[in-house]
């Protein structure tokens, strides 16, 4: 398969004004990926599928990744004037990476037998703007996998034909694959009359009483 840089160049020529960037992968297999702006993802996906040199007709894997907001520190050496003389001083700089969720697509070509090309979309934040474009209209194989990413990560895929929970039950509230997910103490907790009696008793005996 051609290099990601040349794919990017051809993509920019074919779809003017498209916002794609390459994310390097420092690991040993070095599979870099392509980040595409979420409102242009559908056009980019169609182009990737239909381009005669790429023909990425097979979307193998769709998944989400959670990146909570992190602050990481870096030590840098800067030249400062200290006590009248200019010296090199070590300083700590704080970087802040805003939290977001990512939808990752692994694309292959069955006709031409190459791949993978890794496509990413990023959401705005993790709370109310967790929204990316569904690529199910382009690749049907994303249908259940995007539902799973919605179910476990809370990524909302706009344009998905049937976005419901798929593994957790419909009444479930939270998104369990998020990094800050806290398990409930009891998954099957249901309030009973006993609880009301207990709170009433606590009101009567604020210090504990006999039952404590």
């Amino acid at each position: 398969m051609e290099s990601l840089e040349s794919i990017c160049d051809r993509l920019r020529a074919a779809l003017p004004g498209v916002d794609v960037q390459i994310v390097p992968n420092p690991a040993i297999p070095a599979q870099p990926s392509l980040v595409v702006a979420r409102d242009q993802a559908l056009a980019v996906a169609r182009w990737l599928r239909d381009d005669p040199a790429l023909r990425l007709d097979y979307c193998a894997n769709v998944t989400g990744v959670d990146w909570p907001e992190t602050v990481f520190q870096e030590k840098v050496r800067v030249r400062r004037v200290v006590d009248g003389t200019e010296r090199e001083v070590e300083e700590t700089v704080e970087h802040r990476r805003p939290g977001h969720l990512e939808a990752v697509y692994h694309l292959y070509s069955m006709r031409l037998g190459h791949g993978p090309l890794i496509l990413r979309q990023r959401t705005g934040n993790r709370a109310e703007d967790a929204r990316v474009t569904s690529l199910t209209p382009v690749w049907r194989s994303a249908e259940f996998q995007e539902r799973e990413a919605y179910d476990l990560f809370g990524i909302v895929f706009t344009g998905h034909p049937d976005l419901r929970r798929i593994l957790m039950w419909d009444e479930f509230q939270d998104f369990p694959m998020r990094k800050d997910y806290v398990e409930p103490d009891d998954y099957e907790y249901e309030p009973t009359p006993h609880d009301e009696v207990l709170t009433k008793a606590r009101r009567h005996y604020p210090t504990g009483g006999t039952s404590a």
Binding site: N25, P26, A27, I28, P29, A30, Q31, D57, Y58, C59, A60, N61, T63, V65, V104, H106, M110, G113, P116, I118, W139, R140, S141, A142, E143, F144, Q145, E148, L152, R165, I166, L167, M168, W169, P176, M177
Partner: protein
């Protein structure tokens, strides 16, 4: 619903009473009977209103049936919400998640090594290929090499697993058609031989937990290869018998030919992989495309179907068993000596450099991929399983539409799902 018949009272009036003597004249003052009420315009019974609104194009007589989750034909805890018109399937929604234990979260909370036994439980028929897919991804992420002998042993184990899985699948498929277990028990008899081999090799029959980063956990026990050779030698006789019993069987042909046709374009677009894809005539086998392991050293053919119906899915699996046997013969011929584990690899406390990797293998059910992101810590930052049977379920509705509910059961059987992998 039958058309409204003539009023019963009118019928009774016209019948003879059977009395010989004419009836006494009625009291003249009695008023004549009022005319009978007109027959009701609608059906004679009351149609129960539905809980959900009708879908566009859905007539009022369609019936919604929930098949499963505890139905023997659903291969585990799996449910199909089917809308039927008479006996024909008009809508079908698969519902699952009953076995969900968030395998991916567990993988993010344990060390790299600690996840290997968990992968056994994904597709519990094929634990060795699950091991391989995961171990291969970690090896790719951390740049680990595998000794030659270990690669051969991996292929040996994986092809035995493929034979085992396909045999069981054919057994279950015929069971779904109502053979009441005879071919299934024949298949299980062969499976038992493979499981005995696995037990001798790994210590466990199903949850093998055998592969390690950079090789296999232990070398082959003495005499084990003779057992494999015996199994491989006896297999054709069994397969011929099995095929003579099934492949031209009238009932099997009637239930599978032309049922659940999957066109190749839809199969590619829907990400269907494995024997199901190849039954539709798409030549895509990860063993041939990626040439992972040492598969480029072996000569084997990839069986392809022509029509993509249930019979082709059955036949492709039978042929794949024979091709797997060819690979096994070549492995037995060429198996080199040497170590089975790369001694430089740190198994415990493995910390790959930050980055990510996606690797996949041709598992018996299709493409099994793992996607790992490392942040340099002892646990993966992201651990994702790409399960083949989960993705293959996407087009279940397309396959079943227009067929009878009994055929939907057979089609589901030919998709080859294992809930441990679908629900994770």
């Amino acid at each position: 619903m039958s058309p409204p018949g003539p009023d019963e009272r009118l019928l009774l009036d016209s019948l003879s009473t059977g009395d010989v003597a004419p009836e006494p004249a009625a009291v003249p003052s009695a008023p004549p009977l009022p005319p009978p009420p007109p027959p009701p315009a609608g059906p004679a019974y009351e149609v129960r209103p539905r809980a959900r609104p009708l879908l566009p194009g859905e007539p009022d007589e369609w019936l919604e049936v929930s098949v499963g989750p505890h139905h023997p034909s659903t291969h585990g805890v799996f449910r199909m919400d089917v809308v039927l018109e008479g006996e024909r399937v008009r809508r079908l929604k698969p519902v699952f998640g009953y076995l969900h234990r968030n395998h991916e979260k567990l993988g993010e909370q344990t060390s790299y090594l600690g996840s290997i036994p968990y992968t056994d439980r994904l597709d519990y028929f094929c634990s060795l290929t699950n091991n391989w897919a995961y171990v291969q991804t970690v090896e790719k992420l951390a740049g680990i090499t595998v000794p030659e002998r270990a690669e051969y042993i991996r292929i040996l184990a994986a092809e035995l697993t493929r034979i085992l899985n396909h045999l069981c699948l054919i057994g279950f498929l015929t069971h779904d058609m109502g053979t009441m277990g005879t071919p299934l028990m024949y298949a299980f008899r062969e499976r038992e031989k493979v499981l005995d081999l696995f037990e001798a090799l790994t210590g466990a029959r199903m949850m093998c937990n055998y592969f390690r980063f950079g090789g296999c956990r232990c070398d082959l026990p003495p005499g084990w290869l003779d057992g494999v050779r015996r199994f491989v030698d006896e297999l054709p006789r069994f397969l011929d018998e099995f095929e003579a019993l099934l492949s031209t069987n009238e009932i099997l042909l009637a239930r599978t030919v032309g049922i659940g046709v999957l066109p190749p374009d839809l199969a590619i677009n829907a990400g269907v992989t494995g024997p199901m894809l190849r039954a539709s005539g798409v030549n895509y086998d990860v063993r041939k495309v990626d040439r992972y392991g040492l598969y480029d050293r072996f000569r084997f053919r990839v069986p392809l179907g022509e029509h993509g119906d249930t019979y082709d899915r059955y036949m492709v699996r039978l042929l794949e068993i024979r091709e797997s046997r060819e690979i096994l013969l070549q492995v037995l011929r060429d198996l080199p000596g040497g170590p089975v584990l790369n001694p430089q690899v740190k198994q415990r406390g493995l910390r790959p450099k930050p980055g990510e990797a996606y690797a996949r293998i041709e598992a018996p059910k299709g493409e099994l991929g793992f996607y790992l992101i490392s942040d340099g810590g002892p646990q993966p930052y992201r651990y994702r399983v790409r399960p083949p049977s989960f993705v293959n379920l996407t087009i279940l509705e397309d396959l079943c539409l227009g067929h009878t509910l009994a055929d939907a059961v057979v089609i589901l059987g030919s998709v080859d799902i294992v809930m441990g992998e679908v629900d994770r």
